[in-house]
Symmetry: C2
């Protein structure tokens, strides 16, 4: 569902030197052998057995399988409610069973509006009727199936029939509205035209509504994923002029899943909200459009020229309006419930059947969904097939494996959320880890997750080789980080990454939202990770009808080798989490990450404090007034209140305790994992019993301010970023939004959660 | 000639809040009164007299005059050799005489090739013939005079008739060729297509030639000064699709002026180089083209997609080629000499007739030249008229005033350079200061110059009010600096600015090249300044036929009030430099600036040293190889040799001495300027005699490496920037280019110059 950056450098795309053949001879796989003596959670003999198991697992992964499955599953539109969506669920069910898994389909009934009538028309100063559809493209075999698709739309927008002046509001994010205020432009009673980017799409119509707009259009600017990035489809892989980015605008910052059944599974008998009471439904009509449809609208705008950073790649001078452009937009939908089909397959653990390692990906797409989600889905299937073969050879997992294929992820993580809500108690008792994937293509590993598993994932990345270079996936990731740092490319925001306690480890991104890990991590407190490869594909067709098998095989991962590589990585994560003597963690990494986030919060408050003062001085000196051009009136920004000093002490103390507890825990963990003697098996069990539920100590049942569904106190999607993560969100967002009482309150809440976490670790290793 | 940035913020254009009327009442002019007690170089009574004089001077400045003169002088093409160029010289001569000046026209004969035949044609894969001309635009009354214009061209490019594959090389600067090498593309035997920007235009064909190209096209990308900046002419002021940026490509990094007479005045009898020996003439044909003409060429290119930062604003995916685009270009010129007409007007000083204050602007344009150069020229004329009136009322300047209007600046500072070379001995003996202007428009003061006059110019900016805000020009400049710093806008490169020893002073830019101060400052060692206002005009028609009176009055300075403001500023600089008891300087500012530059050089070498090491490590680790995408081969950058430690001691000692000498000098200067008693008049004269020639101590007759014409050891245009300044250029460029022996050598040369400068100051204040 979420689109990760497909181009990581701002500079030229990278490539191997002409002597690519030489690469294969680099002797880089040596580390994989050495790894046998260092596998987190395994004793020496356990590690050796695990390495053998993984070799057998790898041997049955086949790029040809992935290709065939993707072509089959992407052969027709497979959105929620489509015939092919159901067929894909049945296809997977049959496969899982064929491979020896105990599989079933679990069905929920969810609200899923589909458009019956949509139109967008420019009425003045000229007339233009938007196409709002994606024509067939030569060489793309499925693009002719236009009759089975839904028209491009944003699911969970309101119905409406409005005519109003148009205003261009850039990406429609909070800073854009601040700039509009300075420019003296308001959107009240108007239709806003926004461009994709800058934050999650659902925030665009939501903020537009909150500012009084009566409708919202969202277009894909060619600078962002069209000709501004490279050749457009079918010559290259970037967005062609008529392609539209569909997508959900459900307010998932409040909760994900069926809008009518927050907190409970959407079973036939579940109690449902009335439509009017569903807080995640939007209040105004919203439609996504192509840049071909946006260009005449932008050209018809008058008023001020847009600020430099608001301008896109169309060959015109971007104006803000309002007007003279007058737009009429209409959306009429069927507000029905539709069934969704989750495929759930299990292999019972031989020693610890009530500890589950869950692996998931979704199977519904917006149209054909080759990249999103089938590229990840076919990797998951390859893992399941290979594990099935091990099973047939007599192997049994130590802990229970649960492989899942979710439906309804695109409209709002429906399948995963309803399943997680339906089985909440069982999952809280049994789920040790959730391993997610979604899109996947050529390039570099992208790994996000709970920071206690950072070193574990780093070991996996060390032990799998990259198909293009022959070097380990880890080494390639580190090279990318070092080169981009050396070349001055902006580094990832430290607020969204963990601190590695080991130099040379993978640095794990913190989880926000945008795929199916959200209900597991942020609603239930299940330790989660999200995996994929990215950075080298030409992928500008996100959520359009051109995200097809033909596009994928030409521009994303032609050999499907990165699909196999993802299967190797995710499969190892699952197998090691299942087989390890001790569930793999390094609590020092978690403690170091939280300490880093805490330090950032101190700095954030301090920098807001000094900025506010400096800004006040600028206003006193009339510096803004003095720099203004009378031809382009621009009000000075609003004065900011002083930033008080916050009561950080309880959090500082909790972090200090966490660091000490983690250190002691890791020490005992190392002692226990070095041996497999029977004498200490009780101690190991006590540690495992703790680790299976440790993450749940980070939950607070009151949830985050204004959104009680989100209960994780360390990671959440930002209320003003949507998909983008906020770490220590209760505090961070309160500071950012200048709600000081709330900040002080959540400092206490977070401190308590961390203290619980530390206490639980302490108990696990205390002398009995 | 040089275009200064017309938009300073990357953010939105600034504007006054709606309550603009309130601004006029701000009581900000108060400082002007206070200034009577603080005027550098004046005693208390002298300062009072000067303030009165300036009030009388201001009273006769008239915006209506400026408007009439500009309309008249911009009414027909006025390039070198045109009838109207001569007419404008005659017109000014008559005016100067009418105003009471002792004026004459001084003529030189310079090489000035003009095109007889130009063509650019795309031969394959499609056919397209470039228009290469600028059609009339509605509402622009002079744009119909196409028959009197020269076709758009780059003067001093070679003749040629070449057909070759096209390659897009971005801005054609050194880094672009490094990137091309990594991409495996070379330009040998090919025609390069470059876009304007990134460095001086003349470097583009020069570097193309050095890399083996046989021809060069330079186009104006709409992102840079067309619709990417705002509405295009005539709706707004930015570059329309057919507008072309003409300009000189003479290699002025070697020397400016007539290519055939380096170092001497181009009088009829001067010894001239043969064409083939003139080093500043280019070796390959080059033509400037519009974006309308560039688009089909770019669209016809294949090969790799250009790196992100190379892409412009045209609606296509930018490719590098080479080919399949095949281009034919032809230029055939008349290689004649043409006369140029410098107008020189004098008023003899009553007390120190052999100390000259020189004021200059040029009068030749590329076509009509309203903004460039007439906007500055009409301000200069207003000053001359007002001074003429003072003269008629019986006033006489203390020192001699020389007002000049140069011809032939556009092709390469011809008029100023030939005059400076012709009168070199006299100027070295008499010229105290050269005050230049060129383009001018609404906005903020831009002041560059020798750093000893930084405080002097700051006082002038303090004493002139900005017409839009009523605040002082200084206060507005400071507000702009503070706001842009607060908002995180990139601040000016400290290597190109002086250090102010007084908080709240104007920070003076260091002088590179691009206008007529170059021969005075960098060839003769005359203390120089360059003045203008900028930042609020919509000026995207630089060096095109649309730089017209109609464009100027609509989009640059409609009321001509900024022209009057420039006259107030430049007039004050001239009058104070003429009337002060002590020639106005503050040597502490110069010393602090040089100390800052020296510190930067240390840091530069240190940072290159650590970068080289870090880079070596990346190569050893194969990090570049590992990050490359095999679909887009990219060679690793070349390994860099280690950076040795340099012998900075002599420079460090010279800077320390300079700081001490300047401190002592400023102390004595303050003592002498506080009094006007007869007893110390001899001491004052000794200081003035020193100040009149002090700057010449910074010259070294051997010049800079490979360019002996440039003899100033502190300021020069960069060999690889063209117009952009390099401070301490002999050392800085040697370090940047990794010529370590040369760096050590020039550390000694610069140290000697600074020691001479200090010694001269010491002698001026030593007990007799």
């Amino acid at each position: 569902m979420k689109l990760s950056g497909s181009v990581k450098y701002s500079s030229v795309s990278r490539g191997l030197s002409a002597v690519i053949a030489a690469v294969a001879t680099w002797n880089l796989a040596a580390t994989a052998t050495a790894a046998a003596i260092d596998l987190e959670g395994f004793s020496g003999s356990g590690a050796a057995a695990e390495m053998q198991l993984e070799q057998r697992f790898d041997a049955d992964l086949s790029a040809a399988d992935l290709r065939v499955w993707m072509q089959q599953m992407a052969s027709a539109p497979n959105h929620v409610g489509s015939a092919h969506d159901k067929a894909n669920a049945d296809f997977q069910l049959a496969k899982f069973r064929e491979w020896g898994w105990d599989a079933a389909i679990e069905t929920f009934s969810v609200l899923y509006p589909t458009p019956r009538e949509v139109s967008v028309e420019l009425l003045a100063p000229t007339h233009f009727k938007a196409r709002l559809s994606e024509p067939p493209i030569e060489g793309d075999s499925t693009s002719t199936q236009t009759k089975d698709e839904l028209p491009p739309y944003n699911v969970y927008g309101a119905d409406g029939d409005v005519t109003a002046e148009l205003v261009y509001v850039n990406q429609g994010m909070p800073d854009d509205y601040k700039e509009l205020e300075r420019l003296g432009v308001n959107v009240k009673g108007r239709i806003v035209l926004t461009r994709y980017g800058g934050g999650w799409r659902g925030l665009k119509p939501k903020l537009a509504y909150e500012h009084g707009a009566v409708g919202c259009l969202i277009y894909s600017d060619p600078k962002d994923d069209g000709f501004g990035q490279g050749d457009t489809y079918p010559k290259g892989g970037f967005r062609p002029r008529d392609a539209v980015q569909r997508g959900s605008v459900q307010d998932l910052t409040l909760y994900s899943g069926d809008p009518l059944t927050p907190g409970v599974g959407a079973t036939p008998g579940a109690k449902r909200l009335a439509l009017k009471d569903a807080k995640t439904l939007l209040k105004i009509p919203v439609l996504p459009i192509s840049y071909a449809d946006a260009e005449p609208l932008l050209a018809a705008l008058g008023g001020r020229v847009a600020p430099q950073s608001w301008r896109g790649g169309l060959p015109l001078s971007y104006h803000i309006g309002p007007g003279p452009a007058q737009v009429h937009m209409k959306i009429l939908s069927d507000w029905n419930q539709k069934p969704i089909f989750d495929v759930v397959a299990k292999i019972k653990g031989s020693e610890e059947p009530d500890r589950w390692i869950i692996r998931g990906n979704h199977h519904d797409g917006w149209v054909f969904g080759a990249m999103d989600p089938l590229s990840g889905q076919v990797a998951l299937m390859a893992e399941a097939k290979s594990i099935g073969k091990l099973l047939k050879q007599g192997w049994r997992p130590r802990r229970t494996l649960v492989y899942t294929s979710w439906d309804g992820e695109e409209p709002g993580l429906l399948g995963s959320t309803e399943w997680a809500e339906q089985h909440a108690s069982e999952l809280k008792a049994k789920a040790v880890m959730y391993v997610n994937s979604d899109t996947n293509g050529r390039g570099f590993i992208s790994a996000e997750g709970s920071h206690a598993v950072q070193h574990f994932l780093s070991e996996v990345a060390r032990d799998v080789n990259d198909p293009e270079t022959g070097a380990s996936v880890l080494r390639r990731w580190l090279a990318e980080r070092r080169v981009s740092s050396f070349e001055g490319v902006a580094q990832p925001d430290s607020a969204a990454y963990g601190n590695a306690s080991v130099v040379g480890d993978l640095q794990l991104g913190a989880l926000g939202s945008g795929s199916d890990y959200t209900p597991f991590l942020q609603h239930l407190g299940v330790n989660s990770v999200n995996l994929g490869f990215q950075g080298e594909g030409q992928y500008g067709v996100y959520h359009s009808a051109y995200d097809s098998f033909d596009h994928y095989r030409r521009f994303v991962d032609p050999t499907f080798e990165y699909g196999v590589t993802l299967a190797k990585v995710a499969g190892r994560v699952v197998l090691r989490a299942s087989q390890a003597d001790l569930i793999p963690v390094r609590e020092g990494d978690f403690a170091a990450s939280v300490a880093g986030y805490n330090e950032e919060l101190h700095k954030l408050a301090e920098s807001m404090r000094s900025k506010s003062r400096e800004f006040g001085k600028l206003l006193e000196e009339e510096s803004y007034k003095l720099t203004m051009d009378p031809d382009f009136p621009l009000a000075a920004p609003a004065r900011l209140a002083d930033v008080p000093y916050l009561n950080f002490a309880s959090l500082d103390n909790a972090v200090a305790r966490l660091e000490q507890s983690a250190k002691a825990f890791d020490k005992e963990y190392a002692r226990l994992s070095a041996t497999s003697d029977k004498a200490s098996s009780g101690e190991r069990e006590r540690v495992n019993a703790t680790l299976a539920v440790l993450e749940q100590n980070l939950m607070d049942s009151r949830g985050l301010p204004g959104r009680e569904w989100y209960q994780h106190m360390i990671y959440a999607p930002g209320a003003h970023t949507g998909y983008g993560v906020k770490t220590l969100p209760g505090i961070r967002e309160a500071i950012e939004e200048r709600r000081w009482d709330e900040a002080n309150q959540y400092i206490g809440v977070v401190a308590r959660a961390l203290n619980n976490y530390s206490a639980r670790m302490d108990r696990a290793i205390a002398a009995p």
